[in-house]
Symmetry: C2
């Protein structure tokens, strides 16, 4: 999918799925500016770091995060080994499709679901589970594979930046090990450029056939102020461009754009109830309030999906 | 320094500072093998990950770790702001050059020194301090800049691997923020490919001019079993080649070489008392015992510095 725009198209128009609005002009203006040899805003290749949130920025996040759908499917797949789950929340709610009961179990319930579905196996076992699931699971209403619900205009931005010497990173609140198995194939982003939330892993030698065992304990939450921290841990330099869609991305954009030199921040505003979803302030997923209000003061570009994007998803093959 | 071998030399001999011994043959054999198109051991570029310990593997670590020398110099630089240090260990010991007193303060003393010299400032302030120090500080006996005490034969290995499509990473027990300011210039390894121990940082907005503040608290220790964990956190794939020099690298080499497919492990054995230092089992720094004993069973290459290396350090300019 990452390769579906031909290089001939690239030369003619690097962003063919974008209408010719202010957002498109801002992206192209920034990239032209920082790559102009001898220009005052020229940025050397080593400093061309761009970070992208994933859920709601590179792919859809409604009606629930894709990783949530994965966790629920895992509960169902594992239920036969846990007969007690038919009587215990939040598992009972998941098995009966009673989302109110799941929600009522709160953060404690969420952690129990993560512990039961994301831990207790090796990193290689978990990777196989994710790979198998992402290859077949489909969105409840669009019936597309989730990897076919990535945003075509954003794929073009990723390719355009890389064609101009940028290293593109994912910086997501989602689990890093949930994204790595497919990020390269879908986004062209290699595993070592995926930053996300982590659970603890421990090294077990197992008689010379060592494994990394996934523990039911959070190690790092890559959201809000965690995003600049995660960027610092893994990349060790400040991005010059950051792309997000919710208040969870506020600090990443603030960190990126508050330094000297040319900087670019972009917020994907979900405004297209017909082709995708329309939500911002009142949404429980991808809440966008502070970042929307403060974007103008920071000079951030706000993408209006309905107006700015010719298509949402890649053409299905 | 990373560019001091010309490409003409590369073509003729990628490892000109290596004698033509088994170690050199093993390195070249491995690289030839995994890059041979259509060969059974061919490894795609995306999987060509090589990890290098730093202290004792890429540069010297005697008589104390370079970062230790940095910390002691910082104590001296900060002493005028801390008159109480002339009366309190371990600071008193550092100021008086009484290493026995410093050692007697144990791990608690070490943590106090780290807290006093490595924390309480922003990441940008700390970077400036490291840059200034590394640009001028010299080794007590060789009088070289520490960055001139990197191993020329290992610089050639780094370049040779990269010329063959490898991504080279540092995976060190040392502090990641102590290495990043100079790793690209000295080793050709960009900041985002440096993995090390971390202290906690916290994001402080400071009225729209945010900083990352360094806290006096360990976040991650990248040594022993921490090395495969750090590799997993940051790279997310298993290396196919790993280079170390001490038992702190054992798990990294074990993790790297215990998977299927072509794998390469190498231990730098410090055997050259005349040109560098000779130490292994009994040394407090860079203790090498288990990894030396078990290397043959794992098929790891053991470099004998005295025999295998024509030169130790780069020619001084």
């Amino acid at each position: 999918m990452a390769g579906c725009t031909t290089s001939a198209q690239d030369a003619a128009d690097p962003l063919p799925s974008w209408n010719d609005t202010a957002s498109r002009k801002a992206i192209i203006g920034f990239v032209t500016n920082v790559t102009r040899q001898g220009g005052t805003d020229f940025v050397p290749v080593s400093e061309r770091i761009a970070t992208f949130d994933n859920d709601g920025t590179l792919w859809g996040e409604q009606p629930i995060y894709v990783q949530g759908a994965f966790a629920f499917d895992r509960v169902k797949a594992l239920a036969s080994q846990h007969p007690e789950w038919t009587q215990t929340q939040p598992f009972k709610g998941v098995l009966e499709g009673d989302m109110k009961a799941v929600a009522a179990s709160g953060e404690k319930g969420l952690l129990e679901i993560i512990g039961a579905t994301h831990a207790g196996n090796t990193t290689e076992e978990f990777e196989t589970i994710v790979r198998d699931w992402i290859g077949t699971a489909r969105h409840p209403t669009t019936k597309r594979l989730y990897t076919e619900m990535v945003y075509q205009p954003m794929l073009e931005v990723l390719m355009y930046l890389r064609a101009n010497g940028f290293k593109t990173f994912i910086v997501s609140g989602g689990g890093v090990e949930f994204m790595r198995p497919w990020a390269e194939r879908v986004y062209g982003i290699p595993r070592e450029q995926v930053i996300g939330s982590r659970i603890k892993v421990t090294y077990e030698p197992r008689n010379g056939r060592p494994v990394l065992l996934r523990l039911p304990e959070a190690d790092f939450i890559d959201d809000h102020a965690g995003k600049p921290v995660g960027i610092h841990q893994v990349i060790g330099r400040r991005p010059i461009a950051a792309f997000g869609n919710s208040d969870g991305d506020f600090e990443m954009l603030e960190w990126t754009t508050s330094a000297r030199g040319p900087r670019f921040g972009l917020i994907v505003h979900h405004t297209d109830a017909k082709r995708e979803w329309a939500y911002d302030r009142a949404s429980h997923i991808g809440t966008l309030m502070r970042a929307l209000d403060e974007a103008p003061a920071h000079g951030w570009t706000i993408v209006d999906m309905q107006r700015d994007w010719k298509v949402i998803y890649p053409v299905q093959r």
